[in-house]
């Protein structure tokens, strides 16, 4: 099957800055794909390369098998939902949504009908007459989505689309986006720096750092089997264990990761285990997260609510199941 988007050794350098550096990537048709990484990791530049706002300095990009280098954005059947929505302030909502059809020469009646349908799709029917300035952040976000979807793009690009929304709205929009993507079957490429968002929404996630892809995989793979120290550090709340520690407790001199919920805590300090001291406690509702100091190594463990929780400064023993210790490389 032809990939929806394919990068082959694609680079985008700005002078000495390697924003995107020899990236190989294939995004499948109909996939919800997330690009995850800290700011400056190259994920947004990758998105802009697909949209056509940036051109690769080396390598190639294909969209559904067609080479896209040198093709301007307006000739790509790809649409973008911008981070701050980029709605046209001088046009009302209906004309904003109908803009893509207008520039393609679709008649006024037809494009307004299509725009109305798109507004219904994003649950804003009847908002066509308003100006973007009269809408709330969440509503603007939906208009931006409708404006992109009305063109029936082959690939929809979303650049941190939920970043400006408050937590509750963000959660409901995540749900809605996911359902919309399933219903429409359009390939979604979603850029975010929020690992929770990437893991909960995407079919596959690419983790970026320093212009390179560190790991590509299903959310469970990324979360449970991080390929490198960076991925474990960035994606999870996992404890990253240095080689010395891993050698002492698991016999192999490699980096390891261990999830907080896999650490068990015993008040009785005799017997086997890792001796540690409780530094602080953070109540999270369903569980309490403990910060622990194990001979200079900072570890996190979660204790479910209801279980006995040691007080600050208490000396405890930590144990874990050796199978659950995931071994990985320092670099990808």
């Amino acid at each position: 099957m032809t990939p929806a988007v394919a990068f082959q050794k694609t680079s985008r350098h700005f002078g000495a800055v390697r924003a995107v550096d020899a990236v190989d990537l294939e995004i499948k048709p109909g996939e919800f794909f997330a690009m995850l990484g800290p700011s400056g990791s190259g994920k947004t530049t990758c998105l802009r390369l697909i949209a056509g706002f940036e051109q690769p300095t080396a390598g190639s990009i294909s969209i559904f098998g067609e080479r896209a280098e040198g093709v301007p954005p307006y000739r790509r059947n790809v649409n973008t939902v911008f981070q701050d929505y980029a709605l046209f302030p001088h046009l009302n909502v209906l004309d904003n949504v109908a803009y893509g059809l207008m520039v393609k020469g679709v008649s006024r009646d037809e494009r307004h009908r299509a725009a109305e349908d798109a507004l219904k799709l994003v649950q804003l029917p009847g908002y066509g007459g308003r100006k973007p300035g009269q809408l709330s952040g969440g509503q603007r976000q939906r208009v931006a989505l409708a404006r992109a979807l009305v063109n029936k793009p082959k690939v929809l690009l979303l650049d941190e689309p939920l970043g400006a929304l408050d937590l509750k709205l963000r959660e409901s929009m995540q749900e809605e986006l996911k359902q919309l993507q399933k219903a429409l079957g359009i390939t979604f490429v979603f850029v975010t720096h929020d690992q929770g968002e990437a893991l909960s929404m995407a079919d596959r996630v690419a983790v970026f750092n320093d212009g390179r892809i560190m790991q590509v995989g299903a959310p469970e793979d990324i979360y449970q089997r991080p390929a490198s120290r960076f991925v474990a550090d960035f994606v999870g709340s996992s404890n990253v264990l240095p080689p010395d520690f891993v050698q002492r407790y698991a016999g192999e001199r490699r980096w390891g990761s261990l999830r907080p919920e896999q650490i068990r805590i015993r008040r009785d300090t005799s017997g086997d285990g890792v001796a540690a001291r409780v530094v602080s406690r953070h109540y999270l509702g369903a569980a309490t997260k403990l910060s622990l100091d194990a001979d200079g190594l900072r570890l996190h463990a979660t204790v479910p609510s209801g279980a006995a929780i040691p007080e600050d400064g208490a000396h405890v023993m930590l144990t874990f199941n050796r199978d659950q210790l995931h071994l990985m490389e320092e670099q990808a």
């Binding site: 307006y74 790809v78 649409n79 973008t80 046209f88 001088h90 803009y99 520039v103 404006r147 063109n151």
Partner: protein
């Protein structure tokens, strides 16, 4: 140690600080409690100035335009009449109005066309020292005397001037001569033609067009241009549908300057151009040598009325929708 120092200080400080001494302290407190009083004190002097000196003189002018002049005695009759306005429609005077309005419209159009790319560059691409250079380049001509610049242009445009020389060196003298042989826009040399007047008007008023357009474009987020392109608009469509409408308030603001400044100017056409008059020159001549203050006043009302209609039309066309 530092905690000690901080708590030591707070022993001395009260929760409410004592009033600062003297008249200034009392005044500060009073103005803080009555912000309306502060606003009144700040606005009253400029409003008085504007009201009495500016609006007052405008009303005096308007009133004068309804007086008339006695043709025999040359004395002003202070009876309200529309006779002076009727005089405006005499062919000679109407010619002056049509000539001035046409020139102002062409100067405005040309200024907008020249200014837009410069303003676009400055707003979109110029950063740091290039931006400083842009402001310097645009403002520098405004710092030197307007009269000096106009005389400089007289030399540039003269028959023996550098422009004639450049055309000759480029073997384009035929083009210049051909243009100068045209009726209306032509003449003996550029410096005594309407073309020369036009060139100098555009040069002198250009900064007043560039700066508002640049300010308007500066407020257009760059991602709107990207969004338009992303949605399938070619660069031309993006210009027509996004950039131009959003820059329009700036263009209108700039055109108010170029249009009204051209309508009222009497020095440039005096120094560069033909002997045919523009409104500014007519006002100058009527209130000076001719002593016909009512007609001068009526001439002055013309640009005011035209600008009123212009703004009304611009508003109706939605020029300010993006504000």
């Amino acid at each position: 140690m530092s905690v000690q120092a901080v708590s030591g200080a707070s022993d001395v400080a009260a929760a409410i600080l004592p009033r600062r001494g003297g008249f200034a302290g009392a005044l500060s407190d009073l103005l803080w409690r009555k912000p309306g009083l502060l606003l009144f004190l700040m606005l009253a002097p400029p409003l008085l100035w504007l009201g009495v000196v500016y609006i007052g003189s405008l009303i005096a002018l308007l009133a004068q335009s309804f007086f008339s002049i006695d043709e025999f005695s040359g004395l002003i009759s202070r009876e309200l009449t529309l006779k002076t306005y009727g005089d405006l429609f005499q062919p000679a005077n109407l010619d002056i109005i049509v000539r001035t309005v046409t020139m102002a419209a062409l100067v405005t159009l040309a200024s907008a066309v020249v200014a837009f790319p410069i303003a676009y560059y400055a707003a979109r691409y110029a950063r740091g020292k290039w931006k400083a250079l842009f402001y310097l380049g645009v403002m520098l001509p405004l710092w030197s005397s307007y009269l000096v610049k106009v005389y400089a242009w007289k030399l540039i445009l003269a028959k023996e001037g550098i422009l004639t020389w450049v055309f000759a060196k480029l073997h384009l003298s035929w083009l210049l001569d051909g243009w100068l042989s045209l009726p209306v826009v032509g003449g003996n040399s550029l410096s005594v033609s309407f073309t020369g007047t036009f060139i100098v008007f555009v040069y002198v008023w250009l900064p007043f067009m560039i700066l508002p357009i640049q300010a308007a474009l500066e407020r257009v987020p760059g991602n709107l241009v990207e969004a338009s392109s992303d949605l399938g608009a070619s660069p031309g469509q993006t210009f027509r549908n996004v950039l131009f409408p959003l820059a329009l308030p700036g263009i209108v603001a700039g055109s108010i300057f170029t249009f009204s400044l051209t309508l009222g100017d009497y020095i440039i056409p005096q120094i560069i151009g033909t002997s045919r008059l523009f409104i500014g020159q007519a006002v100058y001549a009527q209130q000076g040598t001719a002593g016909n203050i009512p007609l001068a006043a009526a001439f002055t009302v013309v640009p005011i009325v035209i600008m009123g209609f212009y703004l009304w039309g611009a508003k109706r066309m939605g020029a300010f929708n993006a504000l």
